[in-house]
């Protein structure tokens, strides 16, 4: 009996040794007689972190310069030059990473994941353009963002879109923003980076499908100004809202608007609003009623969309690798799926309990359930606010750049006769002195 016990212990020890070693030190290194010295592997260093700080400084300078050019210098040519330089630096030289658009996800993840700390440079990239927008409008979009610059360069023959289409398409951006935040908060994926259409051009390589997507955006961008910025960019919609309340804003005319209508068609992004007529009284009454109805309907819309969003949970949660893995393991264990995948084989090699995996996965799915409510609710709120915006009548006396839609490209400046007068006067003054 004692012997049998010894054998069992011996086998158990052997098995445990094999298990824990998993290949390491199966064979001890030999003792060399020829004086051979065991070399050590080379470890090439990553880029110096000082470069990252230079990026942050360049961003600050570019934003400052852009603000000056848009608001004081009012020169499309200078804005264009800065835009090309930014494209060259942030795009082709720095390969488009990290950008403020993608930084949304880093910031979100850091708010929800205690262990994840946003590198200081990424935090600066996220905050600086927002702060500048709060003061000077969308000067980041104008001449700093490499994605915007890319599209601005290919714009050949701009077409104007009807208002309803423009406004409707913009919903994509809100949905995209909400989805990016949802997936980043749950630690599933950085979708903005994954589906960035232009970063492949900056790196001159990348996923074929994404490159094709980027090419499509550029082809569309030849006729419809900045399609990504206007309809997709999730950072753009944050900047839109901040731009509404910016301290300074782009003015088409440096002086008083004479309503000459020359600038009317100058904006390729449909951001110039014409003066409004006086609303007839009955129209005013009607829209007042509609506004009241919409305000009452808004919470219902939010709840409805939230409920629909939570219903998406089985689909959206599959974005998380753990949920995908748990589903696969379940299918394999219940015999509904043949064979193994790389992921399921890797999981089984770790020896973790299936139940523990299921528990982790269901925890993540719960998060997606709650996240789905918030995601849907946010989208519903945005739809509702859009409808409200349509029903609110604003009075405009002059031709103005819409604070939200204007990307401060500066194209309209030279259309204004008052601007020409200003430039002429300036030339005379500088000529005399």
């Amino acid at each position: 009996m004692i012997r049998l016990g010894h054998i069992i212990v011996g086998v158990a020890v052997l098995v445990s040794l094999c298990d824990s070693a998993s290949g390491a030190e199966r064979f001890p290194p030999p003792e060399f007689e020829s004086g051979y010295e065991i070399p050590s592997p080379t470890v090439p260093n990553p880029r110096q972190t000082t470069y990252e700080y230079i990026d942050a400084v360049v961003l600050l300078v570019a934003l400052g310069l852009s603000s000056y050019l848009v608001l004081r210098k009012r020169s499309r040519r200078a804005i264009f030059v800065l835009m090309v330089l930014s494209l060259a630096y942030f795009g082709f030289w720095r390969k488009g990473c990290v950008c403020p658009i993608g930084a949304i996800q880093n910031v979100t993840l850091s708010l929800f994941d205690r262990d994840y700390v946003v590198p200081i440079v990424v935090a600066v990239f996220f905050v600086l353009p927002l702060a500048f927008t709060l003061f000077f409008g969308r000067v980041f979009c104008a001449a700093v963002c490499p994605l915007g610059a890319m599209q601005d360069l290919v714009l050949l023959r701009p077409m104007s879109l009807p208002n309803w289409l423009e406004s409707g398409l913009r919903l994509i951006a809100y949905v995209y923003l909400a989805a990016a935040v949802l997936f980043a908060a749950t630690g599933s994926a950085f979708v903005i980076c994954r589906y960035d259409p232009f970063v492949g051009f900056f790196r001159l390589s990348g996923n074929f499908n994404i490159l094709v997507l980027g090419a499509c955006f550029l082809v569309i961008g030849m006729f419809i100004g900045r399609p990504y910025c206007r309809f997709v960019c999730p950072y753009g919609v944050i900047l839109r809202q901040l731009s509404r309340i910016s301290k300074w804003k782009v003015a088409i005319t440096p002086d008083e608007c004479v309503q000459c209508r020359l600038c009317e068609d100058s904006c390729p992004f449909g951001a110039i609003r014409e003066p409004t007529a006086d609303w007839p009284a009955h129209y005013y009454e009607k829209s007042k009623k509609r506004l009241a109805l919409l305000i009452i309907l808004l919470p219902i819309l939010v709840l409805l969309c939230g409920w629909m969003g939570s219903g998406l949970e089985p689909v959206t949660s599959r974005m998380h690798a753990t949920v995908r893995l748990a589903e696969r393991i379940y299918l394999e264990d219940t015999g509904k799926a043949e064979g193994t995948t790389d992921a399921s084989a890797a999981f089984r090699a770790t020896g973790e309990e299936t139940e523990a995996l299921y528990a982790r996965a269901s925890n993540i799915r719960d998060k997606f359930g709650l996240g789905g409510w918030l995601f849907g609710g946010f989208v519903g709120l945005m739809i509702g606010l859009k409808l409200l915006g349509v029903s609110v009548m604003r009075r405009r006396l002059d031709y103005e750049a819409d604070r939200a839609s204007c990307v401060a490209c500066g194209r309209c400046f030279e259309y204004c006769p008052k601007e020409h007068a200003r430039l002429k006067a300036m030339k005379e003054v500088t000529g005399k002195t």
Binding site: V127, A189, D342, A345, T350
Partner: protein, 188 residues
Amino acid sequence: MAEDKKSINRRHFLRDSLWGACLAGLGGTAGLLGGKGTKQHTVWQIDPYTCVACGNCATYCVLEESAVKCVHAYAVCGYCRICFGFFGPQPFDIDEGAENQVCPTGAIKRAFVEDPYYQYTIDESLCIGCGKCVKGCNAFGNGSLFLQVRHDRCLNCNECSIAAACPSGAYKRVPADKPYLLKRVDHA
């Protein structure tokens, strides 16, 4: 906003309050991010003890030629007589003939040390990071060959495309001043 200063009406008051709130919110976010610690930059790296050498590293990297390469921890190497990181499962001969090698690009160089030992070195200019040698070495040897993100090539994307495709969750963000996770003899 010159006209604002002249007459403060309700709309302008609301707008200014909202503006202040946004600025405060932005400052708050910045403070929150900064207050969490000012840890320096991170880079992507593969945990060699979790990696299953599935081969995704060779194909999913955004670079044409993957930033992931095989690394040899010589100290862990058992200097096996027949190295299955170098030779295919059933080599015709025990020599450097291409038909005997497991590496599809012939990136592993076999150099005589002393009878019967050979040293195996990775030629990184040829390595594509497919991990075929890693599989062989893990299965039959000490596992001294393993995949690592080489930071002279890595672009350090915000979301690593290979990490998104990694089946075993071996990709980690590691501090930029310790960018490698090398295999060691003393690993428990």
